[in-house]
């Protein structure tokens, strides 16, 4: 059988559906010792902000049952150094690039969109709106329909129209389909589901929160059912929208589960920390499983769990 492993996400074709999740693949330079970056569907970069950021104090991490909490604080070089160093390097290695951007204000998102518009070799932009909004007492953009809409609108109005926008949503909301609705109306071409869930670990020896940032984002297999649910709910309400699924995928069967729920591609995050070759293992297992279940393509399996017939 002629199997088609390519996938179309937000109107863009990728060679396969396994991506690295934002903030979980460094600059790409850390992983290339283990596999060629061309073997990935795409590298989703760390979320880049306008200015350099030191990130938070340590401890930044706590392992939890089947997961981990992190509170990095978006450490990064800022957009100028990123466009000068990281992007050309990724391009030189033939990687498909999805740039993740993050802002502290609506104006930041607009400026970031302008700055990446002229850059060649970028396949799509993932907009991380799970950041504190400094203009709204630190409330996270994606947790409020008004600010979620404003951030995505700002990107849409300022970006090269040929660059697809993927809005990354937080699961820490009452109804994720409501946020999906407003960002689709604001011009998102696809959705990334889900970001981490906010959590806390208290060290019972020091009797204080374990992370310097007190709260952190929960990731890993512990959150996978939440991700599958969110993808399924959003796909059910918006069958036409492309979804980049993520949340605790560690093997091919779990990536398949996200595709069945409605994801056109799957980002691998925390699993990279436990195994630098996780993406390659997941990719091989997924392909084998899709063929075994009789699918001729990734596209044929996307959302297959929504069918009515048996």
């Amino acid at each position: 059988m002629n199997f088609d492993f390519t996938t179309t996400l937000a109107g863009t074709i990728f060679p396969n559906p396994i991506f690295t999740a934002s903030g979980c693949a460094g600059s790409g330079k850390e992983l290339i010792q283990f596999f060629p970056l061309t073997d990935l569907g795409a590298v989703v970069t760390k979320s880049i902000m306008l200015k350099p950021r030191s990130g938070r104090a340590t401890p930044r991490m706590a392992e939890t049952p089947s997961g981990m909490l992190n509170s990095i604080g978006l450490q990064g070089p800022g957009i100028a150094a990123f466009l000068q160093d990281d992007i050309p390097w990724l391009k030189s290695k033939g990687a498909r690039i999805v740039v993740s951007i993050a802002g502290e204000s609506v104006a930041d998102y607009a400026e970031l969109a302008r700055l990446i518009s002229g850059v060649s070799g970028i396949s799509a932009v993932e907009v991380n709106i799970s950041c504190p909004n400094v203009e709204s007492r630190g409330q996270v953009f994606s947790c409020n329909p008004v600010t979620a809409h404003a951030a995505i609108s700002a990107v849409k109005k300022n970006i090269d129209p040929s660059l697809p926008i993927i809005a990354k949503l937080s699961p820490d909301v009452t109804d994720i389909t409501e946020i999906a609705d407003v960002v689709i109306n604001a011009g998102a071409d696809g959705l990334a589901l889900i970001n981490t869930l906010l959590g806390m670990v208290i060290d019972t020896n020091s009797m204080k929160p374990k992370l310097a940032g007190k709260t952190g984002g929960l990731s890993g297999p512990a959150i996978r059912p939440v991700a599958v649910r969110a993808i399924y709910q959003v796909k059910a309400r918006f069958p036409q929208i492309s979804i980049l699924g993520m949340g605790g995928v560690t093997n091919g069967r779990e990536a398949f589960e996200m595709i069945l729920a409605g994801a056109s591609a799957v980002s691998v995050g925390t699993a990279n920390f436990g195994n630098p070759l996780a993406t390659m293992k997941i990719k091989a297992e997924l392909q084998e499983l899709l063929i075994e279940r009789g699918f001729a393509s990734v596209a044929a399996a996307v959302g297959y769990a929504h069918r009515e017939e048996d």
């Binding site: 460094g26 350099p52 950021r53 030191s54 992190n70 990064g76 560690t250 990279n272 920390f273």
Partner: protein, 283 residues
């Protein structure tokens, strides 16, 4: 290139022996052994296939032996502290574990013979014995001082003792060797041995105290720092500490790839867990 010799291998445990408070474990890693330099570390998957522990555990390499081909081994000294290290030390010989390595920076070895002082805290002594062997093979004088809270937490194997010119033991409770902390005795040891370079590995507080002494005496101090890591390969950004660049800029750098071995004078020891004032990109 970052970690240019690193790769993953399913390694068989060929020995696992309790030594005081620790376990000395030997793993058959094949060709990896030939690429290990003193100071490198490995990251090991723990808990088995269905484990709820999703992160690797990082261990400094105690020694490595390249036997050519598949027989190469690395030796680790593991302190059974948490769930992951307790699982690892409970494993029977012949079990296999997935090891990624060699990772991180190595101790710099001077091209000329030197008078070196190696300082270890607790199981932090582990990588110093492999280093001592390399230094001795280059004609250097190697003095060693090992400290711990109590006698059972000193790791000093017999063959390691033979590899050094002098060995001093200190314990906080006086149960073995000199009564006190290693840093209490360093100035005298440095004077007596004519030390030109200090190598160290152990808890951050000890490394800070050694750095202060090294700074006062204008000695080179290479230390292997210990920070909690999630990945060990530079992708997770959790193991950062403030390091000064050659041009004086302080940046939060990953101890897994910028270290674990760093020049002690680069570390902002006053606040290794904070973002020091003036750090590049500080909010």
């Amino acid at each position: 290139m970052i970690n240019k010799y690193a790769h993953a291998v399913d390694a068989e445990i060929i020995s696992n022996k309790r030594v005081g408070a620790y376990h000395h474990m030997v793993f058959e890693v094949g060709a990896m052994a030939g690429q290990v330099r003193p100071g490198n570390f490995v990251a090991i998957s723990v808990g088995g296939e269905t484990s709820a522990m999703v992160l690797r555990r990082a261990f400094a390499i105690h020694r490595s032996m390249d036997r050519g081909g598949s027989g190469g081994v690395v030796e680790l000294v593991v302190a059974p502290h948490g769930g992951g290290s307790k699982w690892l030390t409970s494993l029977e010989v012949h079990r296999k574990v997935n090891i990624v390595g060699p990772l991180g920076t190595a101790f710099g070895i001077p091209t000329e013979p030197v008078r070196a002082l190696l300082v270890g805290g607790g199981y932090g002594s582990a990588p110093l014995f492999g280093l001592a062997e390399v230094l001795k093979s280059r004609g250097s004088r190697v003095d060693m001082v090992l400290g711990a809270s109590t006698a059972g937490k000193i790791y000093a194997p017999l063959e390691g003792k033979r590899a050094v010119n002098s060995l001093t033991i200190t314990t906080d409770d006086g149960s073995a060797g000199l009564h006190g902390k290693v840093s209490d005795f360093l100035p005298d040891l440095i004077a007596a041995s004519g030390t030109e370079i200090i190598y160290s590995c152990g808890p951050m507080g000890m490394l800070a105290a050694i750095s202060k002494i090294a700074g006062e005496l204008d000695l080179v101090h290479q230390c292997a720092v210990e920070e909690a890591m999630a990945c060990g390969i530079g992708v997770c950004m959790t193991c950062v500490l403030p390091l000064r660049d050659t041009n004086g800029t302080i940046r939060m750098q990953r101890s897994c790839i910028e270290g674990p071995v760093v020049d002690g004078s680069r570390v902002i020891w006053d606040s290794p867990r904070a973002i020091p004032e003036g750090t590049w990109g500080a909010q």
